[in-house]
């Protein structure tokens, strides 16, 4: 089964974000990851608009798997959305 596109919005300092990255790596998922705290001001605004569009709380981690949005490190939900 083809893996849906995966995009992770994270913070480099956040423990839950680190666990999410570890899970995706362990599952050999190909994903796009943005550490928002490391973005410059202009890039950050554009990325925050993306996050807010799918998660009004603008909290992290926010992960978009295909058309599914998961907020927080929720291993079971992430695996299910990946079809694992």
């Amino acid at each position: 089964m083809d893996q849906p596109p995966v995009k992770l919005y994270a913070l480099s300092t956040c423990g839950h974000c680190k666990h999410t990255k570890q899970l995706l790596d362990e599952c050999n998922v190909v994903y796009d990851c943005i550490d928002v705290d490391k973005c410059d001001a202009e890039e950050r605004q554009a990325v925050l608009d993306e996050v807010r569009a799918v998660n009004p709380n603008c909290s992290f981690p926010t992960i978009v798997i295909g058309d599914k949005v998961i907020v927080g490190y929720k291993e079971a939900e992430i695996k299910e959305a990946l079809g694992l």
């Binding site: 913070l11 423990g15 839950h16 709380n57 909290s59 992290f60």
Partner: protein, 112 residues
């Protein structure tokens, strides 16, 4: 554990435990989060929450300077703060479910 992280661990741990907020028993998680606090101290001049995006303005970030304004209600309701740095004794004993703590910070408070 890095020396600066260990120093923070040994200073904050007993201090906050006396207030009823022990560290998460998972030392690896605590170590990672304390590193995050030190990164933010370096960036902004104050230990902004490692799991929330700060803007570098102390006034706008003051509710998320660790320990954040939301630790007490989060530990009360979920047994852990948003980051799972501080927990309740029961949480550490494993007698509470380890649910993901949702963001309690009001959307209206977000400075971005």
């Amino acid at each position: 554990m890095r020396n600066d992280v260990r120093a923070l661990y040994e200073r904050l741990g007993p201090l906050q435990e006396k207030k009823g907020y022990p560290f998460n028993a998972d030392v690896e998680t605590v170590e990672s989060l304390l590193e995050g606090l030190l990164v933010n101290k370096e960036r902004y001049g104050y230990m902004s929450c490692p799991c929330r995006l700060a803007v570098g303005d102390r006034e706008l970030d003051k509710d998320i300077i660790c320990p954040c304004d939301y630790r007490a209600p989060d530990v009360e309701e979920y047994g852990a703060c948003y980051c799972a740095l501080y927990v309740s004794p029961a949480w550490n004993e494993g007698s509470l479910p380890r649910d993901t703590v949702p963001e309690r910070r009001p959307i209206g408070r977000l400075p971005y």
